[in-house]
Symmetry: C2
Subunit: 144 residues, 2 copies
DNA sequence: TCGCAGCCTATATAATCTATAGACTTTAAC
DNA sequence: GTTAAAGTCTATAGATTATATAGGCTGCGA
């Protein structure tokens, strides 16, 4: 399951995608519209900024705005940043690999194969899912 | 990520698959061979018994043994039992559905689609992965 | 130079995961 | 029928992580 933090991040980013290239949006507004605790959102946006996905502007009229292009930010990137590994086992993770304590020997472990398959499919699907796509889909559905 | 509980369960079940139809195996042995805390394993095996995957025999010479056929137990069943939902979002879970607090309206949420895809692929792959397969794979690899 | 709004560190609270304790019940063997 | 083995069950301790909040600091614009 994704953490709330991660879900908040996705919602906030989609919100900012709708405002792409329209100047900074301040935290308060995002928090209210997306019903996210303001201080928690603050920490999330800061992380996204440090990851160069967002930029920010201080002072009056300041706020956050999307720095990367909406078509260049996918769900994998966001999830990795917020929640860490995508894989269901540490020993099959590409970015957060750790040996399984339970396995005596990774080579003779019959369990890994299935989870490697799951990992690859998950990566495939979620990397195809960009902010642009999500925002677009939301608009189309909304019009029905 | 799978919990330790779930990983322990899988390892214990694979161990019991190797002993299928060879009488009860007692907790102590499984705990030692698979390096699982005995008391924790106890609780896990009990749950698997209540789910009719294992049977047990009390008293001297007692222990646990596989009740279902190894080809009829797959990873989905085990994970659902130990960790709950397979899906990454509660609102796309088949067996543990819950509405997303964050979404105002599920119909207009552009995020769900990707996660429905991930869920379906995960189900497909992990339901094809049975205890029989895992145990077999382990033996073949071990012989190399 | 005033106040707005993001930046940063620390901490509180809650939930969940992992593990253990100990008393109880059933069964087999003698 | 007594004893010891082995699972059953309830309760709880301890550790870790997730979620949320507080409050002072910093840079920017008018």
């Amino acid at each position: 399951m994704l953490s709330k933090k991660c879900k908040y991040a996705i919602h906030a980013l989609v919100y900012l995608t709708d405002r792409y290239q329209q100047g900074p949006v301040h935290i308060q507004e995002i928090a209210e519209k997306q019903r996210i605790p303001k201080k928690f959102l603050e920490a999330i946006l800061l992380e996204l900024r440090n990851a160069k996905i967002l930029h920010s502007k201080k002072g009056k009229g300041g706020g956050y705005y999307l720095y990367k292009k909406p078509q260049d930010v996918n769900l994998i990137e966001i999830i990795r940043l917020m929640d860490g590994a995508i894989a269901m086992l540490p020993c099959v993770s590409l970015n957060y690999y750790e040996p399984c304590e339970e396995c005596r020997d990774e080579r003779t472990c019959g369990i890994r194969d299935a989870f490697i398959g799951v990992r690859d499919e998950t990566l495939r699907i979620l990397s195809e899912s960009t902010l642009e796509q999500i925002a677009k889909r939301q608009k189309i559905i909304g019009k029905r």
